[in-house]
């Protein structure tokens, strides 16, 4: 893939999302769910976004789609700043989302065909009933469901099937870009692979671009071109998928990778597991400086004082850590 500027579909700069949290009567404090995150996604690419539960992955996805008004930062889609009402409305026809929870993401009072056709109805994309019906069947066909499923209610389906319905809905407006928010983590392992393969197929067929969120690296490895690792609202590492697997640089990514089970028992025995001590701190009282310092083995005074910048360590491998040199391999 060329590094041509025009290839960049989504450009996120300094995105911040603070939620006001009530700490008393009429008193609030900001919860920094996403704090100064920047990345780009090229056309046709899949960017994997991984991190522990609560680190702000969902918030990144939702803020990009303007489901939350960003506290600060710029979102450019296809070179256009997404800010005005008009641009957001246009943007919604090109960028959609698949949700984390297949149970709460489908309205229990709507039939599958109404759920899938909702974006069509909202944007008034189908002029006749006939056209709408055909489109719904086409969409269900994409995700391996058929007309028999169309008139049923969501509660009659399994988790995997529900997620397929959610994907069909996301495809309804013929989008270019889809935020996939942990689309498989609520599913059985045996079904996860199926659904991920389906995402892959759809990408080839429809030329889609994904932001693919997951909480473990194993899931995104196969589907992602590049992977971004997030910790406590900040990006700590971003690199090509294979690169991050072979040479994780940030201490946090290393510990994540050491937790991934290896298929080869010899390698697995040689692989020293880095067990993280302690819990992820609450984003309400995030540590000063490097967010990871409370759990990092290499933390020093410097780490507490200043936040490390995301720096290019060669070939587009971005890492945010003060002590890369000292840590070595």
């Amino acid at each position: 893939m060329s590094e041509n500027k025009n290839d960049i579909l989504l450009d996120v700069r300094g995105l911040k999302q603070y939620f006001p949290i009530n700490t008393g009567f009429l008193k609030t404090r900001p919860l920094k769910a996403v704090d100064d995150v920047s990345f780009t996604i090229r056309r046709g690419e899949t960017l994997g976004l991984v991190g522990e539960s609560g680190c702000g992955k969902t918030t990144v996805g939702r803020t990009i789609l303007h489901l939350y008004q960003p506290t600060a930062g710029e979102i450019r889609y296809d070179g256009q700043l997404i800010e005005s009402k008009q641009s957001i409305r246009e943007f919604r026809k090109k960028a959609t989302m698949v949700f984390q929870d297949p149970y709460s993401s489908l309205n229990p009072r709507m039939t599958v065909s109404d759920i899938v056709a909702e974006p069509l109805d909202v944007h008034e994309l189908c002029r006749t009933k006939q056209e709408r019906e055909e489109r719904v069947l086409e969409l269900l066909g994409y995700v391996g469901l058929n007309s028999e499923h169309a008139s049923r209610y969501a509660h009659e389906f399994s988790g995997g099937q529900r997620q397929r319905i959610g994907i069909a809905r996301a495809l309804a407006v013929n989008p270019e870009f889809i935020v996939c928010d942990e689309p498989v983590s609520a599913l059985d392992v045996s079904i996860q692979a199926q659904v991920i393969n389906m995402f892959d197929d759809l990408q080839d067929r429809l030329g889609l671009t994904y932001l693919f969120i997951a909480h473990d690296l194993l899931v995104v490895r196969h589907i992602s071109d590049r992977i971004a690792v997030m910790y406590l609202g900040k990006l700590v590492e971003l690199a090509d998928a294979d690169e991050i697997y072979r040479h994780p640089l940030h201490p946090y990514s290393r510990s994540l990778l050491s937790a991934v089970p290896l298929p080869d028992p010899k390698k697995a025995r040689a692989n020293k597991r880095i067990v993280l001590s302690g819990d992820i701190p609450s984003p309400l009282n995030a540590p000063s400086g490097c967010p990871f310092r409370t759990r990092c083995r290499y933390a020093t005074e410097q780490c507490a004082q200043s936040m490390p910048e995301l720096k290019d360590e060669g070939a587009g491998h971005l890492v945010a850590c003060h002590r890369l040199k000292e840590i070595g391999d």
Partner: protein, 352 residues
């Protein structure tokens, strides 16, 4: 050789591992017929005997108090002993059930048939049965309309609080808390007394209904919306966070679309259930106020005022207290049981 399987051998039957035929696959993948939420709920409701019987009772009572006055030969406010140009015939007052007044006895002797007074007459010579029927009608109507008022106010305020959230929500909920903490019977009595004097309805259509009933509606509207508003706010608040609402917003749906397609359909069952449970509440309050003399205006009867009137002749005419009291109990009980049945059948939390 495989057919001679020994009990403890580990031999496997290869038949069990043959790929499924198309027919078998079809059999497995066939789903049960689709059913909607309301059909499911209705089925569950019909299985509940207590609720079904209550529902039938309510329907019978409602229909009879609408239909009976249409053909009943006596009217609720006609004093049978009073005729224009003739002295008052007191033989019609306080008739026992199935007895007749003087003029009626004469007509029976002449061979005419006279419609019996099933429950006798009251102290003014009015047919007691039709008064009970009319009282039931008034009580049901008050209960029904009061619940509608409560529903409308509660629905509007509750959805505003739930949907807007933030400061608006905080403000509305504090008002709700204040109204909640007032002793409601005291406020009802005070309001009913004051409004009864202040309201001037002469010359309006409302005159016939009477100021007391109007003030009763005002009281309901002012006080009882709070629990409905709280309930609906809670519902909307939790529904608003559902991912399907987010999904609708992500596709660019407007507020009205979200309320119409997602929020209301998902709290409609809770709304219906709590309205159904509100009706007996209102009927009870109406009866209570009428019993205290703050309810409907004479000569209009209501079950409460009938019971209250019956106190005068309690020793001799005990049945005049027992009948309206029994009807109140029957209505309130069956409405409550029906409401409970509705909740069991339609509460989404129980059939997830």
């Amino acid at each position: 050789m495989i057919n001679m399987k020994k009990p403890f051998s580990l031999q496997l039957d290869p038949d069990a591992f043959r790929p499924a035929t198309a027919e078998e696959k079809e059999y497995i993948s066939r789903m049960r017929p689709s059913s909607t939420f309301f059909r499911d709920g209705w089925k569950r409701l019909m299985k509940n005997k207590v609720a079904t019987v209550s529902m039938i009772l309510i329907i019978v009572i409602t229909l009879s108090c609408i239909l009976i006055p249409l053909f009943w030969p006596y009217s609720y406010d006609a004093m049978l002993g009073v005729r224009p140009g003739k002295p008052v015939d007191s033989s019609f007052n306080n008739l026992a059930p199935f007895t007749y007044g003087k003029t009626e006895l004469k007509r029976i002797e002449e061979g005419e048939s006279v419609f019996p007074h099933i429950f006798g007459t009251d102290a003014h010579g009015r047919d007691y049965f039709i008064r009970i029927v009319f009282g039931t009608r008034i009580s049901l109507a008050v209960g029904f309309f009061a619940s509608i008022i409560v529903l409308l106010i509660g629905l509007i305020i509750g959805s505003i609080a739930g949907y807007a959230g933030g400061k608006v929500d905080l403000f509305i909920m504090r008002i709700v808390d204040i109204i909640y903490s007032l002793p409601d019977m005291l406020v009802i009595i005070l309001l009913a007394v004051v409004l009864g004097r202040v309201l001037n309805l002469e010359g309006t259509i409302l005159e016939k209904i009477g100021s007391n009933i109007i003030s009763m509606f005002i009281v309901f509207g002012l006080l009882y919306w709070v629990s409905m508003a709280r309930l609906i706010r809670g519902q909307i608040l939790s529904l608003r966070e559902q991912e399907y609402v987010l999904s609708a917003r992500a596709t660019g749906a407007k507020g009205s679309w979200i309320i119409r397609k997602h929020l209301l359909p998902n709290c409609i069952s809770v709304i219906i259930i709590s309205t159904a449970l509100q009706i007996p509440n209102a009927i009870f309050t109406e009866s209570f106020l009428s019993f205290l003399g703050l309810g409907v205006n004479a000569p209009m009867p209501s079950l409460g005022s009938l019971a209250s009137d019956a106190l005068n002749g309690l020793n001799t005419y005990t049945y005049r207290l027992i009948i309206p009291a029994a009807v109140i109990c029957l209505i309130v009980l069956s409405l409550n049981l029906f409401g409970d049945g509705l909740r069991d059948a339609f509460d989404p939390k129980l059939n997830a």
